[in-house]
Point group: C2
Chain length 215, copies 2
């Protein structure tokens, strides 16, 4: 009789959720069965229900935990001081670091949220819309201050988010290119794409200084 071995947290549920996450990422939520999840853990499918409510609950846990982490960081950046372009850079770097440390879960949150059950689906979509609006507002402030080149903020937000979200190999990045270099390249392309290159030199010094997160 096999059993679920708890992780360092002591939570058997986390073992199930993270095993499921691997399969959701690889095969998609719908194509992954409870029997698939059970098999990778080494138990029978009904045993999972001693620890979780339903398959949908697993997806809920993944999507909302990731959404919360992003929202918390955005709040911190909004409350910080410094040039707008540096704030944007901080957000970009946070997204990249999330891709490094939480790749599977971020991927699922990005690609499988459609299968969330109501009313959670509506809630999730609202949170996402809210996040993007606030990011767009930040960009607009940068444009107003001549730090960022005049651009449609709606397009810019989606460009940034999907560019980062689209890199498939953040987690195994050591193969083709090391993580730090991956991050610097990506930040550079996006930040230079947004920077207002028409400004005078004295402003550049201001723009390149980094923000201070208020703890």
């Amino acid at each position: 009789m096999a059993k679920i071995i708890p992780d360092k947290n002591g939570s058997k549920k986390d073992v199930i959720v993270q095993s499921a996450a691997s399969l959701f990422k690889e095969k998609g939520y719908t194509a992954t069965s409870m029997r698939d999840i059970a098999e990778t853990i080494g138990v029978e499918a009904p045993s999972l229900y001693n620890h979780i409510e339903s398959k949908k609950e697993i997806l809920n846990d993944i999507c909302f935990r990731i959404a919360r982490l992003f929202t918390i960081h955005l709040k911190e950046v909004e409350l910080s001081t410094g040039p707008v372009l540096s704030k944007i850079e901080s957000i970009i770097r946070f997204h990249i670091s999330m891709m490094m440390t939480e790749y599977k879960n971020v991927y699922i949150s990005d690609h499988e949220w459609k299968h969330l059950p109501e009313p959670y689906l509506t809630d999730f979509k609202n949170q996402r819309r809210n996040y993007r609006s606030r990011l767009a507002a930040l960009l607009q402030k940068g444009i107003d201050k001549n730090e960022i080149t005049p651009v449609n903020t709606y397009v810019a937000v989606l460009t940034i988010l999907s560019a980062i979200g689209g890199i498939e190999s953040w987690q195994r990045s050591s193969k083709k290119i090391d993580a730090k270099s991956l991050e610097e390249n990506m930040v550079n392309i996006l930040i230079e794409g947004l920077r207002n290159h028409a400004i005078i030199n004295t402003d550049k010094k201001i723009m390149n200084q980094s923000i201070k997160i208020n703890q």
Copy 2:
């Protein structure tokens, strides 16, 4: 007794494939049933099999048709003359125009290819790898010629492709922003992010001229 009304091509299969595409885009391939597809057309599920081989064949048709269109265009660009940055711009604009005219199908080709059956899955992945390699080689040529800022070409390719692929609302873009402005904003962010801003002024004239596609 309902029936399938052929489109202007005269092909009933195309009606099935495009109806399926709408559902695949909305609910995902696995979550879409043959009964779902049949219902939107107004027939019973088994009737579909008079025109198609299987559900998998539908996905195959969609993914490989889109892949072919991109490959054809890339070949044209490779055979054309002009500055590399203009070639890249042409590719970006083609991707954007594909998002406008073939949104559903491009989305499926991007997001549902995992469910292709072997050996088509392997074939598709090879085609995609090949496409990206050739795009990276093009970028490298631009870097060598000082048109493009030195950057990891692997990262740049994925940044470009996923940025374009990630804009979710190309087809209903008229709501928030018109198509032309969407395109110009996106091209601007990406091209400026790649441009080598350290070069001298006389080079700029060359870089801004457009390429000539050899017909």
